[in-house]
């Protein structure tokens, strides 16, 4: 017993070092699994506020591209409005499937292995975990942690992000993942060999998940290898420039609770 006490006394500095390293590794591993980075995240009001201030300094840098994107989206929506029967507005709320909440990205990362964004809307704006995040050019990620005023988004540029995706011109679907290398490209897995894919084909979100509605753009096929049995290394060039994100939409699936209840009943 005395020897143990002596040992601890002699090596207490080293033991403290080991303990702190152990805590760090534990926190790192926790952060690698989805929804478990409860304590170490930037949704605290003080970190959110500070990131907000910092972004208000930096956002002037990309105001121009933001405005351009908004103008483009307006144009697209106007064409859509024209093609729909004029003057007829959907009054029946049962027909509305998704609700959109606009938010601003206050902290962005895209060079790490596991990238996470912070946005300036939280539970008080109706944002909950597992909602999808996108802007007019394409998808961005899924809400991971929320506080009253802020939320973190698991970016598509994250090893843990797995998003159901399909080809636009037919209905073959696969899973969108990221290998951590280049923030402009994402990888598509599990596409059936029967699917006749070509370079330049557009990839959109599939309707299989309850996070994203169908047909939100993702990117186009940049290159792939084909063997007799399967496709491999399908690289998707993302439509979204993940290094330059300003305003985004958080998408709430109104029927989500109902779908989840149904699934739990089985």
């Amino acid at each position: 017993m005395q020897q143990i006490a002596y040992f601890i006394k002699k090596y207490n500095y080293f033991l403290l070092f080991l303990l702190l390293e152990f805590i760090s590794v534990a926190l790192t591993i926790r952060s690698h699994s989805y929804h478990r980075s409860k304590f170490i995240n930037s949704t605290y009001s003080i970190t959110g506020k500070l990131l907000d201030i910092s972004m208000s300094i930096f956002e002037y840098g990309h105001l121009k591209s933001d405005n351009f994107r908004l103008a483009e989206e307006n144009a697209k929506l106007r064409t859509l409005m024209d093609t729909y029967s004029k003057g007829e507005i959907i009054l029946d709320t049962a027909k509305i499937k998704n609700k959109f909440v606009a938010a601003k990205v206050i902290q962005n990362s895209y060079t790490k292995q596991n990238n996470v964004l912070t946005i300036d809307k939280g539970q008080s704006d109706g944002i909950l975990e597992d909602m999808g995040v996108a802007n007019s050019s394409g998808i961005i990620g899924i809400i991971n942690n929320t506080s009253a005023k802020y939320a973190t988004v698991l970016s598509v540029l994250n090893e843990n992000s797995k998003i159901n995706a399909k080809l636009k011109n037919n209905n073959y679907f696969g899973t969108l993942t990221w290998n951590g290398k280049d923030h402009r490209y994402s990888q598509l897995l599990d596409i059936q060999r029967q699917a006749n894919i070509k370079i330049g084909d557009t990839v959109v979100t599939g309707g299989k998940s309850i996070v994203f509605p169908e047909n939100i753009p993702i990117g186009k096929i940049k290159r792939f290898d084909a063997s007799n049995k399967n496709y491999s290394n399908i690289e998707i060039e993302l439509f979204n420039d993940m290094s330059n994100l300003g305003f985004v939409y958080v998408i709430e699936n109104i029927d989500k609770k109902e779908i989840l209840d149904l699934r739990n009943n089985d």
């Binding site: 702190l20 760090s24 926190l27 952060s31 170490i40 930037s42 290094s243």
Partner: protein
């Protein structure tokens, strides 16, 4: 004593804010964000009782992690750097019994500062990126990122050490 503590607290806050609000948005050459917060380790007064130092380093790293949603990678790397700083300094100064109470890094010759800062910074970044990638297959990527990011960090830290020296000289 209290003045020292206040200085350290002020430096802690300043470096955390600088790192998170400005330096983490730089993306030099598309991916390099210099980790200037490491300057804290170099300017921390050398004491024989180093437990406080380890704790403070841990919290410094953890604060950076909270802002950038990165789990515990900065905390782990900073604690490792803090732990190794004294042994490396002792080897470099080539003596066991230097009067560490009077020791000031900025009074040492330039070459020694450069070697000391470079070694520790590189160690820090190796730890940082190993924690981040957490896989042995990515060793090439880890070394590449550690090397490039270290270069920029080292330049900034050495410059800051000389800048802070000038400040102290004018204050007294």
């Amino acid at each position: 004593m209290t003045r020292d503590t206040l200085n350290i607290a002020f430096r802690f806050l300043f470096l955390v804010l600088l790192q998170n609000l400005i330096l983490n948005n730089i993306y030099f050459f598309g991916y390099i964000n210099p980790n200037l917060y490491l300057l804290f380790i170099f300017l921390y007064p050398i004491e024989t009782k180093r437990t406080n130092f380890l704790f403070v380093s841990f919290f410094l790293g953890l604060t950076i992690d909270v802002f950038s949603n990165s789990g515990g990678i900065n905390a782990g790397a900073t604690v490792a750097t803090a732990y190794l700083s004294l042994p490396i300094l002792k080897i470099l100064l080539n003596s066991q019994d230097t009067d560490f109470k009077l020791f000031k890094l900025s009074n040492e010759p330039f070459l020694k500062i450069l070697v000391y800062v470079s070694l520790l910074t590189f160690i820090h970044h190796i730890f940082l990126f190993s924690f981040e990638y957490f896989s042995t297959q990515q060793i090439g990527m880890i070394l590449y990122k550690a090397f490039t990011t270290s270069c920029f960090t080292i330049v900034l830290i050495v410059l800051s050490i000389y800048l802070s020296k000038k400040n102290i000289a004018t204050n007294q």
